[in-house]
């Protein structure tokens, strides 16, 4: 399946129609529901989640260390990191991506936001690494 076909399916199982509503369709409770910070999950109706023991993978440890170095060098503090990786990315990505995937994305994002790298440089680097990787292990 192409990724664009998957996007429309990334919604909760129980949901109300929510495409470009008129202003009078948003009452206060619905507005607060939309504004609710995605990490504030306490008290939400939900079903039990299966808990599995999992060792950290090498890329996860590397991501953690990278983020700590960004704090050490004064690029962000822990609270700004949490805002970016738990809230700014939005509900769909918060629930849909792995824990350290969110750390990694927010590390890349802050370097672009604060102009330590340009998005063009980041895109070109990802493409360069992808090509190098394809040469080493062709699909």
């Amino acid at each position: 399946m192409r990724h664009i076909d998957l996007v429309g399916q990334l919604q909760p199982a129980l949901h109300r129609p929510q495409h470009a509503p008129y202003p009078d369709a948003i009452d206060h409770a619905l507005f607060r529901a939309y504004m609710r910070t995605s990490h504030d999950v306490g008290g939400e109706p939900d079903i039990p989640i299966r808990w599995e023991e999992k060792q950290e993978e090498q890329w996860e440890v590397n991501t953690y260390v990278t983020c700590e170095c960004l704090a050490w060098r004064g690029i962000w503090n822990a609270e700004e990191r949490r805002r970016r990786q738990n809230v700014d990315l939005g509900q769909t990505q918060y629930l849909g991506l792995p824990y350290y995937g969110r750390w990694l994305l927010s590390a890349a994002r802050i370097l672009v936001d604060k102009q330590h790298v340009t998005l063009t440089e980041l895109i070109n680097k990802i493409e360069e690494v992808r090509k190098r990787h394809e040469k080493k292990s062709p699909r």
């Binding site: 910070t37 008290g43 050490w72 004064g74 962000w76 503090n77 609270e79 700004e80 809230v87």
Partner: protein
Amino acid sequence: MKRSHHAEKSTGKGDPQCFTGEAGPAKFKVGERVRIKNLPDIFYTRCQVYTRGAEGTVAVVTHESPAPEDEAWDNTDKPEWFYIVRFKQKDLWGDYPDAYPNDSVQTEFSERWLEKA
């Protein structure tokens, strides 16, 4: 490379130690009853929705630090006192079983979220 305000301030001292003495006198004491304010929650907070409007008891006056709503944008100008507040589970969840009346939960707030109950 320009370092964040926060990093410069905390280097060699640690965080939250670097904010000690900057919040003025604490407004609440251990054992006081407080209510959690229902302030707007937009963009960022660490004040859980399930505590809004609930009453609890100050268990610990912890430390001084910028509130998360400020620190998340590297604004360190106005540190506040932080408090650990203890709630009865029954006061947070209407359908909490009566069989466990002494169950409690503790969570942390910056001073702006608390008012005298």
